[in-house]
Symmetry: C2
Subunit: 389 residues, 2 copies
């Protein structure tokens, strides 16, 4: 076979943006003051995307009502609502994981097309991780890449989902099976949104906070461990402080490794166990945060099992998690009655881990710790994994 070769080398190209501006807002700003306080002739067209839950929040009404028109008792805030405000558009999608579909992503693109959006339009997602992931995904594929801004409204999306450029939606019953890396140009963090979160969503976000503290801030971990009542008191100044610490920590990681080739993998602490639990319990039966918290306890036990850490570390971690109300025992209660025996449950969890998209081979890779702030990534044998389940 005869052939000749040449190659094309590309200079740096940034998907999305080469720099994400993050703004932390004190007090209780409303979105009008953020997006419409200095209306300029040349402000970009915006495609706002949110969900029925967020659009119904009291603090969202001054913003949403503009898009509902003068007579805003109608139309209702429901899935598929599209309102306009000058050249801008607000699209309201259904709320929650079942709406994290390619159809929702295409509905965002369709709203943009119908309003004659150009590449210069700014897709602006206001919501939890489902909305921010999908809005950013739509921005990344619309005309091969529009601009994206995000307003995370849950603790989880403020400290984790919205930071770091991962976009996507579920597909064919797999979580986040399609998507892209496409960092937002601006992220607006408004901690006051947290006051209106349901208990389970706040707790879910808290698991990622504890995870981030274990990875990158011993000081924050110790503060949290000594103050479990923060779960009941969201006005505690520690709440705003911990959000900033977590955002800064995650920013430092994704700055170095946007596409998860190396250190960004650390952020999966507790997630290999956690995802397996979510899958085996049935998607939605256990919250992501509860699953991750349980996974962190299992990862601590596994670290000890393979000789990485002391019993003291394991007890410190488990006692902090327990004080927040999370389960730390080998068999999570969400699996009760689902398997003939604990052994069968453990084997099933292990099978699920092997299928996780983050595993490149048949071995299972774990993020483990030698101590708070001292993290290692390593592959572990099946028998050691089963011994902690």
């Amino acid at each position: 076979m005869q052939f000749e070769e040449k190659d094309i080398a590309y200079p740096p190209v940034h998907p999305g943006t080469d720099r994400t501006f993050i703004r932390f807002y004190g007090g209780e700003p409303d979105l009008n003051s953020i997006f419409y306080s200095s209306e300029e002739e040349n402000s970009p067209q915006r495609i706002f995307v949110t969900d029925t839950n967020v659009a119904s929040l009291k603090q969202m009404q001054p913003f949403v009502n503009f898009f509902r028109g003068e007579n805003y008792s109608q139309p209702k805030i429901e899935n598929g609502f599209i309102g306009t405000r000058g050249k801008d558009v607000l699209l309201i999608l259904g709320s929650g994981e079942p709406f994290k579909t390619i159809e929702s992503v295409l509905a965002i693109c369709k709203a943009a097309i119908d309003s004659n959006a150009k590449r210069s339009a700014v897709f602006t997602g206001i919501g939890g991780g489902v909305i921010t992931d999908m809005t950013a995904f739509a921005a990344s594929i619309f005309k091969r890449g529009a601009t994206c801004e995000l307003v995370p409204t849950t603790l989880l999306s403020m400290v984790d989902a919205a930071i770091g450029g991962k976009t996507g939606c579920d597909f064919d019953s797999y979580k986040n099976m399609i998507g892209s890396f496409f960092p937002a140009q601006k992220i607006h963090i408004i901690p006051s949104f947290i006051q209106s979160l349901p208990e389970n969503e706040y707790r879910s976000g808290m698991a990622e906070v504890v995870k981030t503290a274990l990875l990158y801030s011993k000081e924050l971990f110790e503060k949290l461990a000594s103050k479990p009542e923060i779960l009941q008191n969201r006005k505690d100044p520690l709440v705003e402080e911990m959000i900033k610490i977590c955002v800064n920590a995650k920013a430092a990681v994704v700055e170095q490794d946007l596409t998860e080739k190396n250190i960004r993998m650390q952020l999966n602490l507790g997630h290999t166990f956690g995802h397996a639990l979510e899958t085996r319990a049935g998607l939605g039966k256990v919250s992501h945060g509860d699953a991750v918290a349980w996974g962190i306890a299992r990862a601590a036990e596994l670290s000890k099992k393979i000789g990485l850490c002391t019993e003291n570390y394991v007890q410190t971690v488990k006692s902090a998690l327990s004080s927040f109300g999370w389960e730390t025992q080998p068999m999570h209660s969400a699996l009760n009655g689902k398997f003939a025996s604990e052994k069968e449950a453990a084997l099933s969890l292990f099978e699920a881990m092997k299928k996780d998209k983050k595993n490149a081979s048949n071995k299972v890779r774990f993020v483990l710790q030698e101590d708070v702030g001292e993290t290692v990534i390593t592959e572990v044998d099946e028998k050691d994994v089963l011994s902690v389940l």
Copy 2:
């Protein structure tokens, strides 16, 4: 409103790959010799994608038959065919623009999921621009980015569509409305595929060849102008030569400007007029190549109208285009009977140009020439545009 700010700066991240290897194959290699000559234990899993037309080509049979299994009189080569060969998969989609849909792109992702593909899988598109654009788009969103290789089988995709990382599909009746920039890791160019192209597809590719020559190779343009019979003789050595020249020229452009922020826009010579004609004639009524060739003639007239070039340039361009059989007069025959008057047709074409996704504002930007190889990009007034229609 109180706020604090920070930002995340990202080091270079390459969507797809930072380097595309292009291999030109002489003779008549079959795909088995390219992909299966040195089967290694650790060769990556491949998701091959092609269409019913290409899969039916005589030279494709040795390759396709492996995926059809032992008894290959069945199953038939039809839209939706999926065959396997070890861990590899071949998916055959319907042929042509009507299949350039998000449903086809998702069918590629689904075939990958069903074969347990990991991020390390190589999506390999074999076909014209429709197949290579969609396969690369699917690769770009599968698990946030798998690997892509392309085997362009038409003249158009060899010299244009497959080179340069633009991926996508049509959506909501708009061409290439969604997609991404995601360069392929390898592009395999097999000029012998050209021998089996239908006349109209060969001619369509030839328009992009003439365009590339006008932009970057006066020598090639003069050779082509003196040899219009190349349209009837695809075995002429000039065919392989012109493919290499065009690939190299396009590679040089996308190396400098992958995401079309500046010089890559030159490649739209003839396309602003051409796209408007395609839209107003009705998608599919006039081939992309015929529309672009006509657009190049209109761009030459417009260049003269605004004082950029000489009458001599206009005549050189139009006479070369005519000798290949393309229309060069103001009103293309594909618009006959569609409008009440030529004036109305001209106004309608201008409206279509204003909506083209490549225009950032309401003004219309054109790629024009002062002479062969001397290109300028400029915005032109409506009355000047209408004067050449």
